[in-house]
């Protein structure tokens, strides 16, 4: 592990310097804080959240300010017909982005997990604003391309922001479904009784209830001690039993379905995997991503952003698929995951099925196992960040530190004070509790730091997608009009051109290493150059097929050719990009 990190550090920082933004003195009205542009072309406040329209405005500004770096396109439409906006970020001037190793970023697949869009946009913004000013970023955008979809579920994002919700609702898009099986769709959802746009709790005074007000903070409900009655009963989330079936809020206006159970690997139906829809890619949003990913086989790494809990997750989602994460690939994941734990304090690097729960039909499984793409899920924000302490357990919503933090750092902005309400079914009750933008979404002043740290992790992950370089091209005269040409191709990054499962099932075509400029009579892969162990490729020897170029390694190929003339070697790798080297004569 240490060795890999050292290699990683070596390749990250030993680069020729590019012209740095002047930071020894003020630029106009600004003086640079390290690591952040002092006067970016696109000014964005990273302490608030943006609507779909607000985000689109940022995308357009980025495209206008950085026309050679940022391109905007819609890759499809949501259930409601909203555009799925994708940013392609790279140096668009040096070579076509399809010929560069690519990194996929997406956010907001789950409606309520909104800061995942902001982190995706921050990544695009940070790349664009630092290109030409920072050596690492400049090289990264010269070598790689980023495909960034900040909002996979725009219907859900808008619905979460503009309709009454809890911090956990909705996860889905806005398609209505029959959640309670009574044949009607969405007939008994939340009711925003106090009209504040938040769905909070309902409580009723009851001398035989189990709950009391916390003497230290009367807003907080605590359970009565054993053997004693409390003063309140809790009645659940704000709502009315609209359909008279004896249950509250059991069939919400938007159906319960989960975009992250709708992917093509080990898909299972709803009765096995809650949230699955009809079949893989049966939702328009996931289908659009599938179409784009299949059309871009250069994607070699990816991250999909979620909340909550402070985690970097890798697959598989189900224990039975652990065999498809081969040891050589796990080493790569571990190197990246452990780096992530270091640079994002409060985050843990975990495995979905083992450390969290079983997920069938999850996105990262499809990316890794059916596309051979090295993929992480982030789970943004956690209770850790309230006081930078590892909390005990989740304490969802009623834990004391959420109240303390709200009181001393947010000045009670995150809480809807308990107020009386006359409920048609429960009579005199009170409504109150934490707002939907608390618990899961970062408070404003904690947002920018996490966006930056997670972006940094993303950039190092992207950095370690394959980088292929032809490090040697040698010709030897064999006499009798024959020449021997030897080419050595290095992958100077951690991620191989083909993951283990890719090699097992031939997911992606092999790498093609071809010789141009001479008549090729024979071609071979060199297994051991010193002892001349070779493997001849009898068919089409000018284009040698190489199954894999592993991370931090080289492969060697050899041709026997006739004729003179300048030769060129071309490496054409789906995930490693296209590289050409012409022999200098």
């Amino acid at each position: 592990m240490k060795r890999i990190l050292i290699i990683l550090a070596f390749f990250a920082f030993f680069k020729p310097a590019v012209a740095q933004e002047a930071d020894g003195r003020a630029i106009g009205n600004f003086f640079k804080a390290s690591g952040t542009p002092a006067n970016p072309k696109v000014q964005i406040s990273w302490n608030r959240y943006y609507t779909n329209e607000g985000l689109l405005d940022i995308y357009r500004q980025l495209e206008r300010a950085h026309p050679n770096l940022v391109k905007l396109q819609s890759i499809g439409k949501s259930y409601e017909g909203k555009d799925l906006w994708l940013l392609t970020v790279t140096n668009h001037n040096n070579k076509p982005h399809q010929e560069k190793p690519a990194f996929w970023v997406d956010g907001n697949i789950h409606a309520n997990e909104i800061q995942t869009a902001e982190v995706s946009v921050y990544t695009a913004w940070y790349l664009a604003e630092n290109y030409g000013n920072n050596t690492f970023i400049t090289q990264l955008l010269d070598d790689k391309v980023f495909y960034i979809l900040p909002v996979m579920n725009p219907d859900g994002r808008e619905y979460y922001m503009n309709q009454p919700n809890t911090t956990s609702s909705p996860r889905s898009g806005t398609m209505p479904l029959d959640d309670d099986g009574d044949g009607l769709k969405g007939e008994d959802g939340f009711d925003d009784l106090n009209g504040d746009g938040h769905i909070t709790q309902m409580r009723r005074r009851n001398p035989y209830g189990n709950w009391r007000s916390d003497p230290n903070d009367p807003r907080r409900m605590v359970q009565a001690p054993p053997g004693e009655f409390g003063e309140w009963e809790l009645l659940g989330w704000e709502g009315i039993d609209r359909d008279g079936d004896g249950r509250l809020n059991e069939d919400r206006d938007v159906g319960y379905y989960d975009h992250n159970r709708d992917w093509g690997w080990n898909w299972q139906p709803d009765y096995v995997q809650r949230g699955a829809y009809l079949y893989p890619f049966s939702l328009p949003e996931t289908r659009a991503v599938r179409d784009f990913v299949l059309a871009h086989p250069n994607i070699a790494g990816s991250i999909t952003h979620h909340n909550t809990g402070g985690m970097l997750l890798r697959g598989p989602g189900a224990a039975e698929d652990a065999k498809y994460y081969l040891p050589q690939d796990i080493r790569v994941y571990d190197a990246l995951g452990e780096l992530g734990e270091r640079i994002i304090p409060g985050y843990d690097y975990l495995i979905v099925h083992k450390d969290l729960y079983t997920v069938y039909g999850g996105q990262i499984d499809w990316f890794h196992m059916m596309r051979g793409v090295f993929t992480f899920t982030s789970e943004m924000f956690s209770r850790y960040y309230l006081f930078n302490e590892k909390p005990q357990g989740w304490g969802w919503g009623f834990a004391e530190d959420y109240f303390t933090f709200d009181r001393y750092l947010l000045f009670e902005d995150a809480f809807v004070p308990w107020e009386d309400y006359d409920h048609p079914q429960f009579g005199k009750i009170q409504i109150g509790g934490f707002k939907k933008n608390y618990i899961r979404n970062n408070p404003g002043f904690l947002l920018e730091q996490e966006l930056h740290r997670l972006t940094a992790f993303t950039l190092f992950h992207a950095y370690h997608t394959p980088k292929l370089e032809i490090v040697e091209l040698t010709t030897n005269d064999l006499g009798g009009g024959l020449r021997e040409v030897v080419a050595v191709v290095a992958n100077t990054r951690l991620i191989p051109t083909h993951a283990g499962i890719d090699l097992q099932f031939n997911i992606e075509r092999p790498n093609y290493i071809s010789l141009e400029g001479a008549n090729v009579l024979a071609g071979m892969r060199v297994i051991d150059r010193d002892l001349n162990v070779v493997e001849e490729q009898k068919v089409n020897p000018a284009v040698i097929e190489v199954d894999n170029i592993p991370g931090i390694s080289t492969v060697t190929v050899k041709w026997i050719v006739e004729g003179r003339g300048t030769i060129a070697v071309k490496v054409d790798s789906a995930k490693g990009g296209v590289v050409i080297l012409t022999e200098d004569e």
Binding site: D180, G181, D182, G183, D243, G244, D245, G246, G264, W265, W267, Q268, P269, D270, Y271, V272, L278, Y279, P280, F281, S282, R290, L294, W366, M370, F505, N506, I507, E508, R509, P510, K538, V539
Partner: protein, 584 residues
Amino acid sequence: MKMLNPGVVLSMNQLKETNHLHFSQKQKSKTKQISRWYLFLFLAFAFLLLAAPFHLFANQNQVSSTDYPNHQQLGQQLQALSRSHSALARVQSLAKTEGGKDIWLLTIGTGDIDNKPALAIVGGVMGDHLLGTELAMQFAGKILASSAEENVRNLLDSVSFYIFPDMSPDAREQYFRTPRYERLGNANPTDLDRDGRIGEDGYDDLNSDGLITMMRVKDPTGEWIKHPDDERVMVKARREKGEIGEYLLFSEGIDNDKDGQFNEDGEEGVFFNRNFTFKYPVFQRGAGEHAVSEVETRAIADFLYDAKNVFAVISFGEANNLTKPLSYSEREANARLHTGWKKEDIAINQKISHLYNKHLEGAAPEAKAGSDGDFFQWAYFHYGRFSFSTQGWQVPKPESAEKDEYNSAELSFLRWAEENQLENVFVPWTPVDHPDFPGRLVEVGGVAPFVMKNPPYQMVDAIAEKHTAFILDVARLRPQIDIVNLKTEKLGRDLTRVTLDVLNRGTFPTASETGELVRWMQKTVMQVNLGPDQAIISGKPVEVMGAIGGRSSEQRSWLIQGRGNVTIRVGAEASGFKEVTVNL
């Protein structure tokens, strides 16, 4: 990719000939061989005349033909059926395939079709199974032809039929194209051998007969020999008996991409019957990019998930749980990812299997388990409906083939074909020059494509009669919700206790056990609609009920305060609805 080697391009005349080539029975009778067949037919017809509510010759919609219809003719037949029975039948195209062909749906029924129990009938599950399409089509033709008869008419008033005659139209069309070969894949360009090149090594019609058959190469490393009893048939040498192989055996073609394999990546794409979500055979040949990736599979899945009223699916394909019912495995039925049928569902399978054998009279093809990613298992495990599948027919094993030590299906077929005087079922082995085997003896020949999986067209009608009668009997066993034993007890001062039994009059339960788990299978809902100034004192105003078994009932009661009428409605699309009005 090229299908034809430039050296063996067919002339237009040859193309024309091969297009018209079909296997058929010789017309003139030869008493000895044929008498047994005619006796069989006669008995089958006689049975049907007695057992079925309609008869063979009442079918005026059948386009008279000597061969299976192609896609265009199929469309015409469907249009003709819906035109001549516009009150009962409606045809629609659910989607267009990559090959530009329609996915047809023929809906038969009356009134509120989508809110009555329905059967889905599916053909073309396998692109090389022409019979399946024909059985679905003839089912439609026969019930429409006899729809004037009272018992059929009554059935059509209470059951709907969704008929999907051909789910593999791109593949099936290969029967009518040159060269003819047994094809399963659609027209979606697919890298079948996953080598990064699409369709680079298909079949090649080396002997220019318009058919893709086999190719044998004389070779001392080969494993194959000629069958000692019939030199036309190739069998594997039994090395344990001292036999020595003499031939290599391949399908007819050239190793176009020189990878050492023959015809492993041709024109065909994804197989309908390998592209479903249950045990999806990821990365396997013909399975596609992921489950339900294709126009065909999406079209039927989307339609059926919306069709809440389907209680059972009958498909014609490779699986068969009708000749023998599936067997129960407690472990498989109760695993988290259950792969075995649930116990009560097996009991229904047993009943339906019994019915099938009664209709097929010993001609039922052999039982066969489902395959990974197939339609048959999807319909049960993921769609949650009762799912029945049969091949419809298999080559009968003649006595003369029973003693074959090699147990060769081809030998058996050839014997049977001779007894029935079938023509054009075998291509004699003829030497060809083969670029991959210069100077070697390479012969092309063998059993013609399609003939072992599909009976001669003239035999189909009798097979269709039996299957039609069988399907109608299945429809008669549909779940049927009813309300019986309605009782009101006055408790005084406008307080009434209402009691009733919800009865399922059918043999099928209102949902299969797996269907109970499936979110998209509508549960039985009971709803009490109160009038003004009425209140429920006890009992549920709305109840989502569990499945009610065949010929089983559940009792419910309410205490209702008030006067006047209360209506109680119970049911679901797949078992029908019943509403009663109660006077308090």
